[in-house]
Subunit: 336 residues, 2 copies
DNA sequence: TTGTAGGCGTTATCAG
DNA sequence: CTGATAACGCCTACAA
């Protein structure tokens, strides 16, 4: 920068002015400076810049893992919004590195990030951790809520999505259902469960008649639970399995195929999320669409708004996205 | 930090010494300082730190998009290696934000990153762009090569993988093949194509007898090309489609299903990458496994090594991963 | 073993 | 409109 100043025959301050246009500069000088910058291929040193201002033009993105396409889509949404705000994204995937979130809270705190997008999902959703994260900057949550952690949050209406998909299944005549839920501690798990139960109650079934098994949102757990559930004789085992996310539903599909069970003739299956590959299984997976990309995008937008908002002003109001059942082949009429 | 020093009754340098253990400090003082740090919940300001040293403990990761699970897996591998090296990862997904890489080269240059992992894939694989990226720090490439851009590169042996899967298809008696390739400009596209052709030549077929259509590595292009290819009458159209990645193969599968073509009875399909969901289509996709996670991990390790290596020393030797055909249901004997 | 002082590249506050 | 100058928070010779 000093070089630029010399090359243009001005002082550092003037250069700084044109860089941030934070001061009045005569056209002739401005042109000379811009020129010098190009000639010398000068790039401002961001580290110095953040030291001085307290902003980093960088936001943190904390999510469980990237291999679940749902999360990947959220990440792309965040990335897009960040790009529009000329910011960069720090990726933190605690489960991918098999360490507690603390690993990141420690690293992130010093970065003077502008803010953080937090999508809890695995084991690390405890309140204390959230608070710790919050010390690294303003936080916006996506897809999940943490009780007692009161930050702007972008979610979809899981509950009514679950209700609708369960209603669809019940309308096909199924009466012996089973639910493969997500980790109990998660808000979404609870929401989806209530949704399922509302539908079940509305059809006059006793909630206790529907077993709920806890999965971990990954394929393997779907397959394992299906194996347990479907081992019973045909006239006792469930005729429909409601899964709290698509990955577990894939696991179920996979198990059924290897066990020689036909979907949907022998057993119907539903998922949740509607990740792109859900269309591609065969039969296609009946599931509940959540606008993952839009959710990530809005969350990041919200974060930027939050950053700009003076602390006194009312916090921006986050939207609640609607969900939508996608009917495909994996649900059919109840057998018998 | 000043507060810490006061609280512990020492000077700033002493605190700095214990922080980086870069100087001898008496046990008693060290303990007092550590204590003060804990009490005050002090976190070093990374911005200041990088300004002083020239390292950021941060690496950049540039890849086309995250929704392709292959890339997501690479990203997780990188993330893991970064965590082991106590570094953070800056995520850059140019296609997700629908802008040229330049958007990032500009942003990255000022960050004084320790280095960059670069996985070209979409439109942005030109040499000039790579060089521009290299100005932001040492670069390691994964999965692709760019001619004339000579940096350490981690790849898998696409060519022999392609050869083997084609051989498998030919061994099933298929003679009317078609290839759905990736973007021509990519090194992997070229490699896979040569692999396919080697196998084809080895079976005495004339290479020109096998049409090659160029896709863009996404589902949609697979479906579109399949539609064109399979419109011909049954005894003229190809009996097997070799796709340069799994996503395009999914597109083909999808098209076949909607067009009422049975896989593999009417047409056989192969993919490339073996992303986790490839097991879940039905029939399962016969494809070529690339160790995506390991490749990302090794690339990041390599980058760290490169950073440590004095410029004079010989650059570390990158491994070439082997590929492996995964035989599943999407390939069957040739009809007739 | 500990303290002092200079500077990393910017921005912001002043006075000209 | 422009130019000096003091921080920002940390590291590292060097001196004590």
């Amino acid at each position: 920068m000093k070089d630029v100043a010399e090359h243009a025959g001005v002082t550092l301050s003037t250069v700084s002015y044109v860089l941030n246009d934070s001061g009045p500069v005569s056209e002739s000088r401005r042109a000379r400076i811009l020129d010098a910058i190009r000639v010398l291929k000068y790039t401002p040193n961001e580290s110095a810049r953040r030291l001085r201002k307290k902003a980093a033009s960088t936001i943190g993105l904390v999510l469980p893992d990237l291999t679940n396409q749902f999360f990947a889509l959220v990440a792309e949404g965040v990335e897009l919004a960040a790009a529009e705000g000329e910011a960069l994204v720090m990726l933190c995937a605690p489960e991918a590195i098999n360490r507690p979130i603390q690993h990141y809270t420690r690293l992130l705190r010093g970065q003077s990030l502008d803010g953080i997008i937090y999508l809890p999902g695995g084991a690390g959703m405890a309140l204390s951790l959230s608070l710790e994260l919050a010390e690294a900057g303003p936080v916006v949550m996506v897809d999940e809520r943490v009780r007692g952690f009161d930050v702007p949050t972008v979610v979809a209406d899981s509950r009514s999505g679950a209700r609708e998909v369960a209603t669809h299944v019940l309308a096909q005549g199924h009466r012996r259902l089973a639910i493969i839920g997500g980790p109990q501690a998660l808000w979404t798990s609870e929401q989806r469960l209530s949704g399922y139960r509302e539908a079940i109650a509305a059809h006059g079934l006793h909630p206790d008649a529907v077993p709920v098994l806890e999965g971990n949102h990954r394929e393997g757990s779907g397959a394992a639970i299906a194996a347990r559930l479907l081992a019973a004789p045909p006239d006792e085992r469930p005729t429909a399995l409601l899964c709290a996310n698509d990955l577990m539903a894939f696991g179920v599909l996979d198990y059924c195929q290897s066990a020689g069970l036909r979907v949907p003739q022998d057993v119907s299956v539903t998922g949740f999320d509607d990740i792109p590959v859900a269309r591609l299984t065969s039969p296609g997976l009946t599931t509940v669409r959540q606008p993952a990309h839009a959710m990530g995008y809005e969350a990041a937008k919200l974060l930027f708004e939050l950053i700009r908002t003076p602390a006194s002003a009312p916090p921006p109001q986050p939207p609640v996205f609607t969900t939508e059942v996608q009917v495909r082949g994996s649900v059919g009429p109840a057998p018998g």
